[in-house]
């Protein structure tokens, strides 16, 4: 069976301009959305605060929960439905005191709903100090992974390839952030893990095409780089689509069956996978070409 015919001759290089415009447009929308939302919607991992997941015996209206939390002084709490009879409460408060926060929550809940009618299934508290640390570590991890990949690809291929690869990676991360912001998803540790995975996955795709370009460039010295790239993207197209399809399939399974804790994580990966394929085909290779135009390598290649 074949999804993509083996002899496709799409002119990907020709589509470069509209593709870049499309990407830039999406990224600008993303930046606009970030400004509109007043920056990324940081979860407690980065902003500090407390998250409490509660499961009730009976259906409980969120207003009642809000009142209960107000009674114990948690004013700015956000309450979010989380499956049947289950809610997540987020509050910017983070008690460093050994027991006050948890016991306050317990008190408030048992006063409002009675002991035994609820179960605290998860509590996450991150103090502002840790939040700052984690933010710094997250940004560093992403940047260093870019640099690490840049170096590896630069050594194994050529610098212009590495550059194309990194531009594609930055692109994927930006696109993913755009969609996260548009859907007002929270930025937490899992999202950073997702971004790093997207980086790892997208570069994987890109390398496959670069490898083919390198091979074809050696084989067909008489072709222009333009033609070589087009041919290479076409030749690897069926693999690119196929692998992305399998990854996309398993991610969809995770998205629907994996449970709420990793829902947003999977969402980010789904966006990133699509962005990864797109950037591999439309962004990474043309950048290599662009770089060649700016600074020719002077190989025995016909212009």
């Amino acid at each position: 069976m074949e999804i993509i015919k083996s002899d496709t001759q799409f002119n990907f290089i020709g589509l470069m301009k509209p593709a870049v415009i499309l990407s830039l447009a999406v990224i600008i929308i993303g930046i606009a959305s970030l400004i509109w939302h007043g920056g990324p919607n940081y979860g407690i991992d980065f902003a500090g605060g407390t998250l409490i997941q509660i499961k009730f015996q009976n259906e409980i209206h969120t207003d009642k929960i809000r009142t209960a939390f107000k009674a114990i002084g948690f004013e700015g709490s956000i309450i979010q439905d989380y499956g049947p009879k289950e809610v997540i409460v987020r509050t910017p408060e983070s008690g460093t005191d050994a027991k006050s926060l948890t016991s306050r929550v317990e008190e408030g809940l048992s006063a409002a709903f009675g002991k035994g009618n609820y179960e605290i299934r998860r509590i996450e508290m991150v103090g502002p100090k840790v939040g700052k640390d984690l933010t710094r570590k997250a940004i560093l991890a992403i940047i260093f992974s870019w640099i690490g990949i840049l170096i590896y690809v630069g050594v194994r291929f050529e610098f212009r390839y590495a550059l194309g690869g990194i531009v594609a990676l930055v692109h994927d991360v930006l696109i993913t952030i755009t969609f996260l912001s548009l859907f007002n998803k929270e930025f937490d540790l899992n999202i950073v893990a997702a971004l790093l995975t997207i980086i790892g996955y997208s570069i994987n795709d890109t390398i496959v095409i670069f490898d083919r370009i390198r091979e074809n460039a050696r084989k067909n010295i008489r072709q222009t780089l333009n033609e070589v790239i087009n041919a290479s993207v076409n030749q690897t197209l069926s693999r690119t689509i196929l692998t992305s399809l399998t990854v996309f399939m398993v991610l969809l399974v995770l998205f629907f069956f994996g449970g709420g804790v990793i829902h947003d994580f999977t969402f980010a990966l789904l966006v990133g996978t699509v962005a990864g394929v797109y950037s591999t085909v439309f962004i990474a290779s043309p950048i290599v070409l662009l770089f060649e135009k700016i600074k020719p390598t002077g190989l025995k290649r016909k212009k």
């Binding site: 992974s145 196929l242 398993v250 991610l251």
Partner: protein
């Protein structure tokens, strides 16, 4: 590369068997006895997010440890100066971190310098000035010594918390230092997180001080605290209503004894009300001191202070020489037993703050395991079917590789005692999707070569050779990203990096090495003429 198909097949089978041996205990608890005797019985290690439990990041306020050392040392110095009849005035420490002594004349200043230099190697002069003919000297702990104190405070806190957790009875706790002043505490399966937290986070500084009965507390509350005294609150619980109230009490500043003098502490039930209290047993030095203190202060009130709060302040009726005392104060049974634990384990050298807490209840953990397992199974079946659908018999080869990949991945996790977390399960699911990538690359190559009119043997040879470098390069770059993920991650995220990394490495083995054996077998041994791809 091994040429012989048999040797390569044998290697594969041995590895799979080893993985199975490691994995079996996680799948069933019903292992034969001989197995338990000779083979590994470790189960796959679940992260706190899957088995439920508490993760804490604590910060030791090491600066406080330095401050209290300075306070202790300067108190000692004060007494020393008085003993040596050196005239001085002591300035209470206010905002600044140093203590200041004031000397009226040159002679006393010189005497002070002599004592300081000879007997207090940890102290040094921070500033020294002369104001209105009086010498003002402020002292601080030497920087090198302060660094040592800080380091020791963290080490000692670690040890103390470990003791407390051990006595609390939690299996397989993990207590490790992080950075310069942080401690990570992981308590799997903890039942009462709030109680565990207060047990760990409590300083448990036990002090014995005399109640100042010469001055009135009312005066002191107005702001006229007499020199050498301090106001503290006594916590009392009304027996009938169960309400707690706080009563201010004027105490002498001097600490007569601390928790260091204890040998043991245990919970006992009182005879009269059947109420639990904590009975203390002093060590040899402590018993001697307590004997002396009670003898000197008969008919005076002795306050027992825990973390700055007076628990009780009984009147000393007579000299107590048995080296025993008790803390009463209307506790619940849990409170009393926790108090006994912290007193036995000793005080923290400095207060600790909880910087981060992540607690997952056992029911949510089980939910996550169930959902993760289902997602993996569904994803696995989908991919297996898809590969057969797309590549026919060659798809089955890829499927064999995928199944083997899962077996090896989990086996390696058990063997290396890696922790499986919920994001880790997501990593496994992702591996299912990505592991076939190598096979897709090889198979697409083989198809290309076949299209060029090559024989199956040549096409497979070329397909593997050409695809290998691509697979290698693309996977190494992914590994680079996974490595940074590992370095960045805490707990669950680290688990994701672990499964992803193992998944990538194992998939290179199964997708390239193992599938090639199968192909070679059909090409060389069965001499097939056509590939179903």
């Amino acid at each position: 590369m091994f040429k012989s198909i048999r040797i390569r097949a044998a290697v594969t089978i041995v590895l799979c068997l080893a993985a199975f041996v490691y994995l079996a205990p996680s799948l069933t608890s019903d292992l034969p006895d001989t197995w338990k005797k000779y083979l590994p019985t470790d189960r796959i290690h679940l992260g706190l997010d899957l088995q439920g439990g508490m993760h804490l990041v604590l910060e030791v306020e090491t600066a406080k440890a330095v401050e209290s050392t300075l306070e202790r040392t300067s108190n000692d110095l004060k007494e020393n100066l008085m003993d040596n009849r050196v005239r001085f005035k002591f300035h209470e420490r206010t905002q600044e971190k140093n203590v200041t002594f004031e000397f009226p004349d040159v002679a006393s200043r010189e005497a002070f310098d002599k004592i300081l230099n000879n007997q207090y190697p940890d102290l040094e002069t921070a500033t020294s000035e002369i104001v209105d003919g009086k010498g003002l000297v402020s002292l601080k702990i030497k920087d090198k010594r302060a660094a040592e104190i800080k380091k020791m405070a963290v080490e000692q806190s670690l040890e103390t918390i470990r003791n407390r957790v051990d006595q609390f009875g939690i299996s397989e706790p993990e207590i490790i230092p992080q950075g310069t002043d942080r401690i990570i505490v992981q308590l799997p399966g903890v039942k009462d997180p709030a109680r565990a937290k207060s047990l760990i986070g409590r300083t448990a500084m036990l002090e014995f001080k005399l109640v100042d009965e010469e001055h009135s507390i009312e005066e002191a509350l107005k702001g006229n605290v007499p020199e050498g005294s301090v106001v503290a609150n006594e916590s009392r619980m009304d027996r009938t209503s169960g309400k707690r109230s706080e009563i201010p009490l004027l105490l002498k500043n001097r600490t007569l004894m601390t928790g260091n003098a204890l040998e043991s502490a245990k919970v006992q039930i009182g005879d009269r009300f059947g109420e639990p209290h904590v009975s203390l047993k002093f060590n040899a030095q402590g018993a001697k001191d307590f004997d002396r203190i009670t003898a000197e202060n008969v008919k005076k009130r002795l306050a027992i202070i825990l973390d700055g709060v007076v628990h009780s302040a009984p009147v000393i009726q007579e000299r107590i020489s048995g080296g025993q005392a008790q803390i009463t104060g209307s506790f619940t049974m849990d409170e009393a037993s926790d108090l006994a634990i912290v007193l036995r384990a000793g005080a923290l050298p400095a207060p600790v703050n909880i910087l981060e807490e992540r607690t997952v209840g056992p029911s949510l953990g089980q939910d996550s395991i169930d959902k993760g397992t289902w997602a993996s199974i569904i994803a696995g079946i989908l991919i297996l079917i898809f590969m057969i659908f797309y590549y026919r018999l060659t798809g089955i080869v890829a499927d064999v590789a995928l199944a083997m990949n899962m077996l090896l991945l989990l086996g390696v996790m058990v063997a290396f005692k890696a922790t499986l977390t919920l994001p880790g399960i997501a990593g496994i699911v992702l591996t299912i999707g990505m592991a076939v990538d190598a096979n897709v690359l090889i198979n697409e190559r083989i198809r290309e070569e076949l299209r060029l009119g090559k024989t199956p043997r040549a096409a497979i040879e070329a397909g593997y050779t050409k695809a290998f470098l691509t697979i290698f390069d693309s996977n190494v770059t992914t590994l680079v990203a996974a490595l940074f993920l590992f370095g960045f991650g805490t707990g669950p995220v680290k688990g994701f990096a672990v499964t992803l990394t193992i998944g990538i490495v194992v998939s290179m083995f199964t997708a390239v090495f193992v599938t090639r054996i199968i192909f070679d077998h059909f090409i060389w041994d069965r001499k097939i003429e056509r590939i179903s791809i």
